[in-house]
Symmetry: C2
Subunit: 191 residues, 2 copies
């Protein structure tokens, strides 16, 4: 349903569970980055009213998630700190074609795939985290992530049609899976 070309490799979850603290910190950064990406798209495509309004509401939700993760960190006495980012997002965005309108189509679909992967991995965490409060907190986020995937794909469909969108989504989904084939050494949500 989330159009991912490959499931997360079996080794990711045990590694993530060993380093929950770092995964939580990385998760906070991911929500912040998701808000920033949506806001950058608003600046770039400011003359497209439906895109701008939709992405503003989405950015607000990402910030609300960010604040939620901050509260989980704070409740556990964990300080938010800078982390070396996994190369995932940069690799994924490298597949975006530069000329418009390809650039917009690809960017929307790359954003969709990041949401889809977040959703898949948060579900793994929700099912496996020994801390029941944290597991429940992740379960509560899943539906939003899946909805964000749909929001980005729908923005693409409305502009580029179903066929063009689905064909390109399949290509980028293969690329997304390849971006994760080589594991990042440090524990990350998208490692």
């Amino acid at each position: 349903m989330l159009h991912l070309a490959a499931p997360t490799r079996p080794g990711w979850l045990p590694h993530a569970l060993l380093y929950t603290e770092e995964i939580l910190i990385d998760h906070a950064h991911c929500e912040k980055k998701a808000a920033s990406t949506a806001l950058n798209l608003i600046f770039r495509y400011v003359d497209q009213p439906d895109l701008v309004g939709t992405l503003s509401a989405l950015a607000r939700e990402e910030l609300e998630h960010f604040e939620r993760v901050l509260s989980w960190l704070s409740a556990r006495g964990i300080a938010l700190r800078r982390l070396r980012p996994a190369p995932y997002a940069a690799r994924l965005h490298a597949a975006v074609r530069k000329p418009e309108p390809h650039r917009l189509l690809d960017t929307l679909l790359v954003c969709a795939l990041i949401e889809a992967r977040s959703c898949e991995r948060m579900r793994l965490l929700a099912d496996a985290l020994p801390d029941p409060e944290l597991a429940a907190a992740y379960r509560a986020l899943l539906a939003d992530e899946a909805r964000h995937f749909t929001t980005y794909v729908d923005l693409a469909r409305r502009r580029f049609g179903g066929d063009v969108t689905d064909t390109r989504l399949a290509v980028l989904a293969e690329h997304e899976a390849r971006c994760l084939a080589e594991p990042f050494a440090e524990p990350r949500l998208h490692g």
Copy 2:
């Protein structure tokens, strides 16, 4: 109460009322820019938890205001378009000292002063706009703008103390008034 060093010059309001459409479009850009500025501060000072949480909530409110202004535009059949920005914000930020911690203090106070000026001018619009719906909409925003001023000043006070903050705020308020002394030719919220 808003610590502005000088009130808006008498010529601004009649000019703004002649070009309400352009003022509304500029206002949308201002709310978007305010969200972006808060988000940039979150990225820069990510290891300061109270600042990060406070500014995330503030950025969400700016985005909610942005969506509100989009709905006013849409109800009036006005398309959001790019505008040449007034030099106000760039002039104002030029007074920010580069070395930390001065940079943080000055940035917080510059943000506070922009909110204060927005509040002052929105009140002028609320009292003078012939469209009663729009006048009421501006009146509804005023309290938020004033609160945002206080939010930024409080963030500064908690870090730098009341005396240092107030002294620097007075200096920057004088600078803010000078940034508006020479009117911008095109109608702008901060023109």
